[in-house]
């Protein structure tokens, strides 16, 4: 195939790349496909078209093109998940409550130190918990707080957003909605 010169070919190359990537591709990644012969705005337009092509014929297509934090990816439509999950019965282990609460604190309060997390949870943070989240590449150290000991500040990564199919932190369920009824002070 020569360098593409029409919309159909552009979209085909985008589609082939996205279907084989196994991870989101950013606009910068996708521009590389055309070796500099593509405008960013044109690319966005093509991606929109491609998304619609796959969204049409609603019943026939098994994948959808979605945008997440680090770029675009094709993923199976939700109704197929349950069947695909049967291929690997030993699926991702569930994280413990300690891990999920730590993650929630980092997601909603970032950047935070371990001390902040301990303050909120009222218990010491097991180093294992932080390691699990770092190994998953869901959190990382973004700096140090300028206090004695210069504790590391943790934040969630883009990869975390990708894995939860979010484009940005603002798409997380709003924290305010978790605030429950007041705990009464007087009895």
């Amino acid at each position: 195939m020569k360098e593409p010169d029409n919309i159909t070919e552009f979209k085909q190359i985008l589609e082939a790349a996205l279907l084989t990537a196994g991870q989101p591709l950013s606009l910068d990644d996708l521009l590389k496909l055309f070796a500099g012969r593509m405008e960013r705005t044109t690319l966005r337009m093509l991606l929109d078209e491609l998304k619609q092509d796959w969204a049409q014929e609603n019943t026939a297509k098994t994948l959808e093109l979605v945008q997440v934090a680090t770029g675009y990816r094709f993923q199976a439509k939700p109704q197929f998940s349950k069947f695909i999950a049967r291929l690997s019965p030993e699926k991702q282990p569930k994280y413990s409550r300690a891990v999920m609460e730590t993650l929630a604190i980092i997601a909603y309060k970032q950047p935070v130190t371990r001390g902040d997390i301990e303050q909120i949870r009222g218990v010491a943070v097991n180093p294992n918990v932080m390691r699990q989240l770092q190994e998953r590449d869901w959190i990382d150290v973004v700096g140090q707080r300028e206090v004695p000991g210069r504790p590391s500040l943790y934040a969630t990564t883009k990869h975390f957003l990708d894995d939860l199919s979010l484009r940005s932190l603002s798409e997380l369920p709003p924290f305010e909605e978790f605030a429950q009824t007041e705990i009464p002070l007087d009895n």
Partner: protein, 261 residues
């Protein structure tokens, strides 16, 4: 999440039908409790929400005594967590003692010693719910499957360069970690011996049975090399990797890979 489980807990064969109304935890149930709750805040929150416990109605003296008992017991199990519970009871006691002091006619809300605890409890509760929501979201690797079809890799990929320094660094790391873990043998056989061991194994693999003297290149190898070669044979025999046979005294000695079928 797990807090519901707790009502089915059995201690010494007896089902614990309900949670204690105060912060007292029967020592036998301690471990189970510690697993069911994420910490003192979590426990306190449960008691307040489910049992309408009044933070101030806790019998402090008794509680303190009991906590001291835990700490004794927990020295073996989870001292850190015991400390967290202890800290919490200290906080409750402080609040209670401040409440007992004669107070000015009007107490501004922010001076209420309970306000800080309530703020923390509510913040923790929000985080707990947030965690549940995150947990319930579809995730890549679980409910989300990303397209990953194959393609022919046509790019001519050069293999990575490895420098001697990098190799040594890798080995240093292995040793560093080996130091931390236990139980494996870092033998001290000379490197050159190990190299000759590999050489001999290769030779035996190719030729099957080889006569002992044929393994030595007396003409070109200097004495040190011959010695190392001999040591390698001894090491191989010691590790059970080769078989050495001799029909009778002074007859030729044959070497054979133990692996040859």
């Amino acid at each position: 999440m797990q807090t519901q489980l707790i009502l089915g807990i059995r201690v010494h064969g007896e089902t614990l039908s309900e949670l204690p109304q105060d912060l007292y935890i029967p020592p036998d149930a301690l471990e189970v409790y510690l697993e069911a709750f994420e910490g003192p805040l979590d426990l306190l929150l449960y008691l307040i929400r489910k049992h309408n416990l009044d933070i101030l109605d806790i019998p402090m003296a008794q509680l303190t005594e009991q906590y001291m008992e835990y700490v004794e017991k927990m020295k073996v199990i989870k001292l850190e967590l015991a400390a967290d519970y202890l800290l919490m009871s200290a906080m409750l006691i402080e609040i209670k003692s401040r409440m007992l002091l004669p107070k000015p006619v009007e107490v501004p809300e922010e001076d209420d010693p309970r306000a800080e605890l309530v703020r923390r409890l509510m913040e923790y509760e929000a985080i707990k719910l947030g965690a549940q929501r995150l947990d319930a979201m579809p995730q890549v690797g679980g409910e989300i499957q990303v397209a990953a079809a194959c393609y022919q890799h046509i790019a001519d990929i050069k293999p990575p360069e490895v420098s001697l320094d990098e190799l040594v660094e890798a080995w240093r790391n292995v040793l560093k970690r080996a130091k931390l873990t236990t139980n494996h043998k870092i033998g001290k056989a000379e490197l050159s011996v190990r190299e000759h061991m590999s050489q001999i194994l290769r030779r035996l693999k190719a030729d099957g049975m080889v006569e002992f003297s044929a393994l030595f290149d007396v003409l070109t190898d200097g004495l040190p090399k011959l010695v190392v070669h001999f040591l390698a044979i001894l090491e191989l025999a010691k590790e059970g990797l080769i078989r050495i046979t001799q029909q009778q005294a002074f007859s030729p000695i044959y070497l054979q890979s133990n692996a040859s079928e």
